[in-house]
Symmetry: C2
Subunit: 332 residues, 2 copies
């Protein structure tokens, strides 16, 4: 009798220990690279709320729309957008082939190597460069060029390829939401076809869930096979108001959780906030000069203006401090 | 001993009977409204091939892209596209409010009720009407107008709402592919936001998987809430070459199976045919005047030209005869 009581007691203690370890300790912490704090806690509570089938705020898997900006939210964007660096390298190749291109002052400026001048190049100008360098290429050829560049280019400061300069804490958020049957989309001002090259591998986000600034394509035949050729014409810019517009075009539903890091994400977060039921809006703040960058509000790349900081405070959007909320920045 | 042999024999017979009933008889026929024949057999073989994990032609679920045209492939399109009928009814309301619109000869022709004249209205003109009737509406308002019209409008010949005039054999194909973890997309020349209103209910296709001709939208604020307003400007026409272009934009992968019914689907089928591995291209041929319609090659709505019929024969695309391949047309 006593013996069986001890067995029951032992079993109970074991059960409690197992429960504890599953609820609050390391082994099953879905966000191990996040420091304990209100943002981590709100993220976990949010996921538990919308996935708890008995919860009045339960959301069906097909409506668990999560949208992520890419540059500065999922991967490095300083001192220049990675796609910009790629475009400059491609431009160098083009200029070697066609030296007359140097007569274009924008192209000349781009190739000057002057960091300050480069930082002032507008997205519109970048798009012109992309037009010069990539129009007439097939989508497949473009993908191959991006893939090759990513495989052969190293970031000097971190001595790593760009595909390794992704944020470990955000990878954990992606995995956590995926495990909880969220529909994860990338919604980026960067080029859709650029991001499609690496999103499946580094983020486990399928190409069909990559929304980005898009060029038109034109259907043609080459060597008796149909191909899609990149045309020198923008279809839409997926930034600022373009983000909710593209979210509607591609998804047709409002996100219930959205992550951004700059002024270009404001409208996406507002759109998310206007969804019914529970929702969560978050901004990554680059305040860690030592481990990554601290841009300040006046950066031309990934601008997080004072106005955005003010709106975040007013709307109770979560501002993630890289310095204080993240234990690590990049994957090991 | 004898007894146990009999038991084994009985069990074997039972097993054989069960196997038979699961492989070729009614209870588990995935396509009961299809007459037995080569197309039904090829469909089943195709699905078994790409889903059989031991098969060298196995395709992962995320790459099992299936695309379906809508008008004339999944639902009725004669004598006029359903969206056209909706637009005319909306135009009537607008003209009552703003009689000056009748000065526009296109609008006058559209409201004449002359079937022959209507059949000659081009998609471009239809788009102009849609611009007149819907620009300035929010997406939500537009959806509400479509929903109301669909709920209150009856097709005279069949005495049914348009949402009931969908093809039962195609519903079975959708369900069969869905059960086999295909990614099903609608790829229609019709309006994306129009189709989104009914696709989830009648086809079990999520709004995020509806690709159609799209107007631009513009992000704005009304009553302190963000809204998307329909703009009077086409973003792209999802027909002919626009289909593979939109498939790339939205999905980024080639379909492995595609269904269409008219010249506007040709490029989508060619694109599907250019995919690696097994693929299947099918065209619904409207040859059943008694139960539905027999358009012939010269119809202005849902044109299935002699040239398309010739290409189908050359490329070995399957041409589905409504008359001979389908036991029933509409759901009971």
């Amino acid at each position: 009798m006593l013996r069986s009581r001890i067995v029951i007691l032992k079993a109970s203690v074991l059960f409690v220990l197992i429960s504890l370890s599953f609820s609050s300790f390391g082994a099953t912490d879905p966000l191990p690279s996040w420091n304990e704090g209100p943002i981590k806690q709100r993220l976990i509570t949010f996921v538990q709320t919308v996935t708890g089938s008995a919860n009045p705020n339960y959301v069906k898997p097909e409506d668990r729309i999560a949208t992520f900006d890419n540059d500065g939210t999922l991967w490095l964007e300083q001192p220049l957008y990675t796609q910009f660096l790629f475009a400059i390298d491609e431009l160098k190749i083009k200029v070697k082939q066609h030296p007359a291109l140097l007569k274009n002052p924008a192209i000349k400026a781009l190739l000057s190597g002057n960091q300050a001048a480069l930082a002032h190049v507008k997205q519109k100008d970048l798009m012109q460069v992309i037009e010069v360098t990539h129009a007439g290429m097939s989508i497949d050829q473009y993908h191959a060029a991006v893939k090759k560049w990513l495989e052969t280019t190293t970031n000097k400061r971190f001595n790593k390829p760009y595909t390794a300069l992704i944020y470990q804490p955000m990878l954990e958020v992606l995995a956590y939401l995926r495990d909880n049957h969220f529909q994860i989309y990338i919604v980026s001002g960067g080029g859709q076809e650029f991001i499609r090259v690496f999103a499946p591998t580094i983020y486990q986000v399928d190409v069909s869930h990559v929304i980005g600034t898009a060029m038109t394509t034109s259907y043609a035949y080459q060597h008796n096979q149909p191909v899609l050729i990149k045309s020198p014409k923008l279809l839409f810019v997926d930034d600022h108001a373009g983000k909710p517009e593209a979210i509607n075009l591609f998804i047709g539903k409002k996100p219930i959780i959205a992550f951004g890091n700059s002024d270009g994400d404001k409208e996406m977060l507002e759109w998310t906030q206007s969804s019914n039921g529970n929702h969560m809006m978050l901004l990554v703040h680059h305040d860690d000069a030592e481990r990554e960058y601290a841009y300040g509000p006046n950066s031309k790349v990934g601008t997080f203006s004072n106005a955005l900081m003010q709106e975040a405070a007013q709307q109770k959007w979560d501002v993630i401090s890289m310095k204080h909320d993240w234990k690590t920045i990049f994957p090991n």
